[in-house]
Amino acid sequence: MEFSDHIKTANVEDVVLRQPLHPPSRGTLCITGHHLLFSEREEGSSQQVLLLLRNIDAVEKRMSGSSGTITIKCKDLRVLQLDIPGMEQCLNISRSIETLSCLDNVSEMYPFFYRPTDLSLQDQWGLSTPEKHYTQMKELHERWRLSSVNKSYSVCPSYPPAVIVPNCIDDETLKKVAKFRQGGRFPVLCYYHRKNGMVIMRSSQPLTGANRKRCKEDELLLQAVIEDSDKGFIIDTRSSQQVHQARMTGGGFESKSFYNCWKRLHRQMERGKALQESLIKLVEACSDESHSVDRWLSKLENSKWLSHVQTALSTAGLLAECVERDGHSALVHGYEGTDCSLLICTLAQLIMDPFCRTLEGFLALLEREWVQAGHPFQQRCAHSAYSHARFQQESPVFLLLLDCVWQLWRQFPLALGFSEALLLRLANEVYASDYGTFLCNNDQERCALGVKDRTHCLFRALLRPAEIDYYSNPLYEPTELAIWPSVHPQSLQLWRGFFLRWTQLAHHLEEVQEEIRSMVIEWARVAQR
């Protein structure tokens, strides 16, 4: 199927574009296979708007007389309006946008066509690999090994080919454990705490089922994690009621009698549909124009978004407390181990590990804990808050992570090496991107489509010198200490920079940050002379 089959009208003259923070402008509209391009045709101006069609969440059309208006609601929460002369042209355009914005075939997506001049496909894709990561972590080598049991993705389809496991557990054992865990996600190491040698492991739920099935190899593996120490913590991201119900559908939890050195802690975290609905309600509240404070605060409360932020941060805090303060290792899982587990493991690492708080360290963390660890980006980010389509697997877990990181950044303005601009950029890229980083659902799919050979890597691009300046925090001062966020409701705020970014208000604050950033960059230049 060619893109051109979907484009009946490629060019329209005399279109009026209305977008937030700009006066309306008149110009030419073009539709290409992946983009919507608007070029202003007014004297003395050459403004262009280039929008990835993938960024479009919903299209609404309204006809009046011989012209029509298309309202475009983007996944980055921007709302644009196009006044198009000619009914037929308007219908053609809107149909093209509707079709092209939700193409299913990954290999037809823009990252496979994006060829910037300053990047080469021969460049390394990604910041690191599990192998490199293991080689660098010398302190791990005594007790932990790199297993290639999953090199053909047959043991666990959503894991990378290499994972870190206890030394004394061989690949045969791992295969048996994988059968006992949902989706084959057997417990693997995700973080080693240098200060006390404790670790964070993550997995999916054990498949005990209604008959309380057990798996000796699974118990052995977990015992090997804590070795001689007296106990470890299992943080289950479901309530104890939920885990009992999960047994009816073949899932379950680690029972006290078989895992007597492990203490289970339950923290119920919402996922999937509940989270998606929360986002929709929040965005709806943010665009409410009723001017009633009560109504706004009710809607904000009703959306529950801030409660989700609070739960995520406090669960991550609990995990970090187990490791850093109590000096115990921990295992994290919920159901599949691809959403909430990743969320809190990532946040706990930011809380504890100073390296994860650098710009490069943060991107490497995201690569390790989200891209390689198999968060199903393609399913979760197919649609955002405006879509009319029926939701299937969509859920803003990654956006929730970015919001939580923003809360950390706000409470510890000096401790993080990156800026709010990076979080905003990531929030855009995860839904629609020129780069291949967030394509597909796991490493296996990425390999099958040749993503690493045929697209460019976002994380590498963000670390180019010109971009580093923009995404660094000018106030950054590294601290070795853990940063413990306050999770009091009074301490958490709506991430206005993201949710209200297309209003005038956020605009002023951005200007200030820009000002400070340019000062810091200016010095660097002066210092070099």
Binding site: V293, P413, L475, E515
Partner: protein, 561 residues
Amino acid sequence: MVYSILIKEYQIMEFAELIKTPRVDGVVLHRPFMPTVEGTLCLTGHHLILSSRQDNTEELWLLHSNIDSIEKRFVGSVGSIIVKCKDLRVIQLDIPGMEECLNIASSIEALSTLDSVSLMYPFFYRPMFEVIEDGWNSYLPQDAFKELESMTDEWRLSKVNKDFTVCPSYPPLVAVPINIDDDTLKKVATFRHGGRFPVLSYYHKKNGMVMMRAGQPLTGTNGRRCKEDEKLINATLRPGKRGYIIDTRTINVAQQAKARGGGFESEGNYPQWRRIHKAIDRYNVLQESLIKLVEACNDQSHSMDRWLSKLEASNWQTHIKEILTTACLAAQCIDREGASVLVHGTEGTDSTLQVSSLAQIILDPGCRTIKGFQGLVDREWLQAGHPFQQRCAQSAYSNSKPRQEAPAFLLFLDCVWQVLRQFPCSFEFNESFLVLLFEHAYASQFGTFLGSCAADRARLSLPEKTVSLWSWVNRPQELERLTNPLYEANSLVIWPSVAPQSLLLWEGLFLRWNRSSKCLDEAYDEMVHIIEYNKELQNKVNSLRRQLAQLETEDPLLNTP
């Protein structure tokens, strides 16, 4: 030096009688986000002092007038006094000995609620700094008028109120239209609530439009009219132009006011004026809103829903929005419609001043400087007769039934903070200045916020007997602390967003004692450092450029290619 003051205080019988136990050892002090301190507690006429026996450890110096309420608790023979301050801080003192504890508690209760103004601390306080410029003379009406005279000759300074008989709550000098004589003013004063005849509050240089403020007209149920009043306000209109009257009450409230002798300007008698009614709450409603808000902020529960519900139920943000919206409306009439405006509510001493002062923040870049803002507070709140003594007698923790208390001034400061947050580069001062004004309005060593009007201040001889807050603030070391490092003078009108989504809780004030500000303070210092370093570098670059230019002219060889 300090002790000599204490001794002087102690000699005053009123205080001595109230202090049964002036000193207790082994008292433990608990404060939010600070280590506990053990030491000796001393009570003086105006202060509660805790000094630890180690040198150089922190001490607590708390003005009794800052104490809003206390609670006592006993566990065995140790009593605890929980002191809740007007600046919203809560501290706890563990006092060994039941009797000592009870004595201390009753002394604090008595000393924190002294009624006599002349016994207040400002009358005993002697500055330990050099007064460079006496703040009592910094913002005199005659000086402000000189500036006005340079722009227009349509106004004059009237002395009709020089002995405070025409309007007890006005200053001796007020600006009125040039062709309105003092006799007319006297007649108008009898027609306006509290004698508050319309006076000039702001002159918009850009288009010559003005904002006036007044008390409500006393039309009563019979629809009384006053030709002089009509003449006065019509005198401010340009030929063929209409003006706007912004009534801070709803039409219903204004109608009801007629039954009590008040009222509003009817269309029939004021055909050149368009009346707009807004709904700004006052008194109890505001005080209760503050109490609820502070209660919500101190809530220890971890439920997000509960916090947001309580925040909503307090209605505080709604008040902020109403005030800001009305101020924007007044500013819009003046700047965009090119019309003059008269603002009033009932007395014209609360919501009226909120609106007139905020409109000036929006319209006049001068009010956004440190001195300009002091001038605005002095002119539109102190001289304009906002009854600080009544409104700020109690704050959010008070157990007594509120009478005249209302956080009208705090709401104004909160609104300024909202605008400051939305325009972070347009104000010469920072958040600390607003917090400082809040603190001093409720409890202070300075005389600035004592009394309720100019007449009170004259009667109490405040300028002679007390120090002005401005004398202290306007010294280089204080100014430095209060200056916004991001300030870039902006000569434009700034229109704040009043959408509910744009309004935030003023964390720096309401959550100040509920969170550790260490990280935020560090970030602020770092930003200041960056900006200063940047200035330094710029100066260096400039001087190098100058040197280079000089060398080029001196050395002709450099000029030949």
